[in-house]
Symmetry: C2
Amino acid sequence: MSRRPDPTRRSEQSRQAIVSAAVDLCVEIGYAATTIEAIAARAGVGKQTIYRWWPSKAAVLLEHMTRVRETQIGFPDTGDLRVDLLAQTSAVQGLFASDTGAVWRGLLIAALSDDVAADGVRTLLQAAVVEAKGRLATAQKTGELRADVDLDMVVEIIYGPLYHAWLLTGRPLPEAYMEEVLSSVFDGLRP
Amino acid sequence: MSRRPDPTRRSEQSRQAIVSAAVDLCVEIGYAATTIEAIAARAGVGKQTIYRWWPSKAAVLLEHMTRVRETQIGFPDTGDLRVDLLAQTSAVQGLFASDTGAVWRGLLIAALSDDVAADGVRTLLQAAVVEAKGRLATAQKTGELRADVDLDMVVEIIYGPLYHAWLLTGRPLPEAYMEEVLSSVFDGLRP
């Protein structure tokens, strides 16, 4: 019996090659310079192959971010809120310092002038906020988090410092950054 | 004695008209669409008049931000840290919701691909961080703030939530937002 090529598998390999090429280019030459032409050349496919699956480079890169979100920064629930927050936010800090950080930064900027990027970024951020609020709501029930605080604000208190440092001031962060942030905001800044 | 026109004063009026025109356009049509041509037309001057004083639209808008920083969001020192932080951060929250917010948002995004904007934004942010850290250092000496916390991180804990909400999720914020943030991070999120 002869083995026939599997078109579904070949498709998936092409899709993966295109997404990887787009991520590599974003890291090497920046989001703005990453064009569909450059992605096609790097992935060894025609432009039409890319346009068959995605409407724009933003859409290609959003697929990468969606996969990362689903596989690398899920929210654990070990029953210990501080342990779970530290694990998840440290993973996010690590991603910001990795190739994925360059992609996410590019998409956040593009979101201000490109509707596809804006919709995709909003969807990803909303999913992340909903997931974090779910874990925080459980912690309010078990008494690990003050019951009288607005959960949208708590999400902003936990992730805001990391985004501020990474996106705005760009200062190099210590590895234990999120441990210090969580300890400061949970125990309080008051002496 | 006849009154002669004062060229310094006329210059200053032209400069102000150009900066105001740039801010108005940024609010009305967005940062990307605000061109030097459009600014010149709105201000009733020639393009060369603008280029005599500024190298780019980013530079014009940075002048607005510098004036705002110097006149509207200084850091008070009443001797009560929480009162001072609330006054200053509430002023920043108000600015984000005003015309100046559209200008600052445009510059923050432009900073990622435009060197003039990047330098200007970095200078403004660094000045703001230095000023905030100065006030926080005083509070550490007077015992109003834990002495063992890194002040760069404290700045990020105080301003990060506001930037996260304003720049990333874009949710409408309650007027008392910064009061809630400050009370949460100073008293702690732990029950």
